[in-house]
């Protein structure tokens, strides 16, 4: 049932007998036509697209701009890409930020001006930016908005107590008295993951080398380098088995994305990138996150997104993936959870070449850790790659997987399935 005639048939079949009693005759023909038209529009064209994406920063420090100026820059670029006037056209703004990374309580109250959202509909999702995309997606799907904007940024260079903020995120009764930073939690996750999946030091070093080298081809990467596997294996330990080079260093930056309904999208851009599915999940925090070797949040978020998008075999469905690699081992753990890696435990090793290329952008290891903006960075990289491939008419890149993780000690993540068809 995907056309107007079909819907009329369906309505007649459903309500035909009622018509005999004359009750339905009271409803005017114009009204039923409109109803049928609306249902038809919903069934036919309820897709959501990314029509504009802009960014600023992507540097270890951004001393020449305040965070508001950084956001204004990224927003201006995103709006220019799809000729949108935020003061008139955008019906929903979503910003993703965290008080302690900003240094201001109820920090979202300072978000509207630089986004063009003053005196308009704005809400905060205190989560990674990809969760904000899920919220904007729902606003459009539900008909609340036809154009929605998502923003997230990092000014980590201004946070002099990053370690204290991570400590503050630890469970207060029985974890914080033991640990004074969240990084050992990552190290312990890493050890258990390596143990259960028989992942070697060299496998992790391969991820580092691959992503650092991939970043050399990306203008946005502050931390790209020609690092060999051997060099990566000589990096000093921070918390054994976690080495310094396996951790994404902090970076500043902002990403703003404009989403639109299918109806609007086609007139706003020649290159809409469709959100074919989206999902999000929080597993359970604290002890569990340190003990489990699986990224359950990524697995469950993927299940939700794949169901919406109709993805049955992710290994063959996706052309490439942008996956969270805040710590190098996380890329492997996430790839496994997303079903895009051949983790053969009996082989005692990870494949050198994954079925789906991962983090061709260089990942967070090259671009840096942008805290809550990290999911939008992954999205930006995926959108740019899909558009470039389409422009070059290359057949290789039409479907992308994007995944985010909220960082230590969280067990929250989101997944988006993107496509240009």
């Amino acid at each position: 049932m995907n056309n107007k005639a079909g819907i009329e048939q369906y309505l007649y079949a459903s309500f035909g007998p009622e018509l005999k009693f004359g009750r339905w005759l009271m409803v005017s023909k114009a009204f039923t036509d409109k109803l049928v038209g609306n249902i038809g529009a919903l069934l036919l064209d309820d897709k959501v697209a990314i029509v504009g994406i802009g960014y600023s920063g992507f540097s270890p420090a951004t001393p020449s701009q305040s965070y508001k100026e950084l956001i204004f820059d990224a927003a201006s670029r995103a709006y220019a890409e799809c000729s949108v006037n935020p003061r008139k056209d955008v019906e929903s703004f979503v910003c993703c930020e965290e008080d302690l990374w900003e240094g201001t309580s109820i920090t979202d109250e300072y978000a509207p001006d630089q986004l063009g959202a003053a005196q308009r509909n704005i809400c905060t999702v205190s989560q990674d930016g990809l969760n904000g995309v899920a919220t904007a997606y729902m606003h459009i799907k539900s008909g609340v908005a036809s154009i929605a904007v998502v923003e997230s940024h990092s000014k980590l260079s201004n946070v002099l107590s990053q370690s204290q903020v991570r400590e503050f995120a630890l469970e207060p009764y029985y974890e914080r008295p033991i640990l004074s930073d969240g990084i050992p939690v990552a190290a312990m996750q890493m050890r258990r993951f390596m143990h259960d999946y028989k992942v070697t030091e060299e496998d992790i070093a391969q991820v580092v080398s691959k992503n650092k080298k991939n970043g050399l081809f990306n203008q946005r990467s502050s931390y790209a380098a020609d690092v060999s596997v051997e060099q990566a294996m000589r990096s000093p330990f921070v918390w054994n088995p976690l080495r310094r080079i396996q951790m994404a260093p902090p970076a500043d930056g902002c990403v703003v994305a404009v989403l639109a309904s299918a109806e609007k999208a086609r007139s706003m851009t020649e290159q809409p990138v469709w959100i074919k599915g989206i999902g999000w999940n929080s597993a359970s925090t604290s002890a569990e996150s340190a003990i489990s070797s699986d990224a359950l949040y990524a697995k469950e978020a993927a299940k939700m997104a794949y169901k919406i998008a109709g993805v049955n075999s992710p290994k063959s469905y996706f052309d490439f993936a942008e996956v969270d690699d805040t710590y190098a081992f996380k890329e492997l753990q996430h790839a496994e959870a997303l079903g895009i890696a051949d983790m053969d435990v009996s082989k005692g090793n990870m494949p050198a070449v994954a079925p789906v290329p991962i983090n061709m952008s260089g990942g967070s290891l090259s671009l840096g850790d942008l805290v809550e903006a990290t999911g939008l960075v992954r999205l930006l990289e995926a959108v740019q790659r899909l558009r470039n491939a389409e422009r070059k008419r290359s057949k290789g890149s039409k479907r992308a997987l994007v995944q985010s993780w909220r960082g230590i000690p969280s067990s929250s993540g989101a997944v988006a399935v993107l496509g240009v068809e």
Binding site: S64, E69, D99, D113, N158, V159
Partner: protein, 188 residues
Amino acid sequence: MGRSHAGRNCGDYGEVMGMENPSEPPGTALTPDEWRGKEIFFRNFHTKFTYSWDTGVAIGHFLEALKGGKIVGRSCSGCNRVLVPPRMFCELCFRPTDDWIDVLDTGVVNTFSISYVNNDASRREQPLFVAVINIDGASPGMGFLHLLGEVDAGQIHVGMKVRAKWKPAHERTGAITDISYFKPSEGL
């Protein structure tokens, strides 16, 4: 996202508890010794966060001007406003602002409040006057929060004309406190 103000005025205690005599809540009151003697378990935690915010172009110039004994704003040719404190974008037009404008160090009290207590609820010897000042030369309704001085509580009124009392040049550091306070600029 915090809600530090939530939960304070959550209604009448008795009404909330649905009790007939709200002055006598159920249970046994804890004694100070039970609290101090740690017979009840607590988990205390202190932390210290340090930030160093980039001022950026707009606030950077604003603070630099204050150090020089001046107040500056930015003009927007879209809505013909002068924005004080300055910003590099106009929030109404969503466009970059155009020029730096020197505004005056005089203004009008938009609204004010008088405090007789300190943060720790102790009584102040001298009341504290806090006001929003609409700065002369800025667009209507634009200005900033500051203190009032050289004035008696009973004399302050909405619409009172005021002038900045600057710190001596060698004491100014490029901060909003380079203005000590605003004082009445003409006969009350």
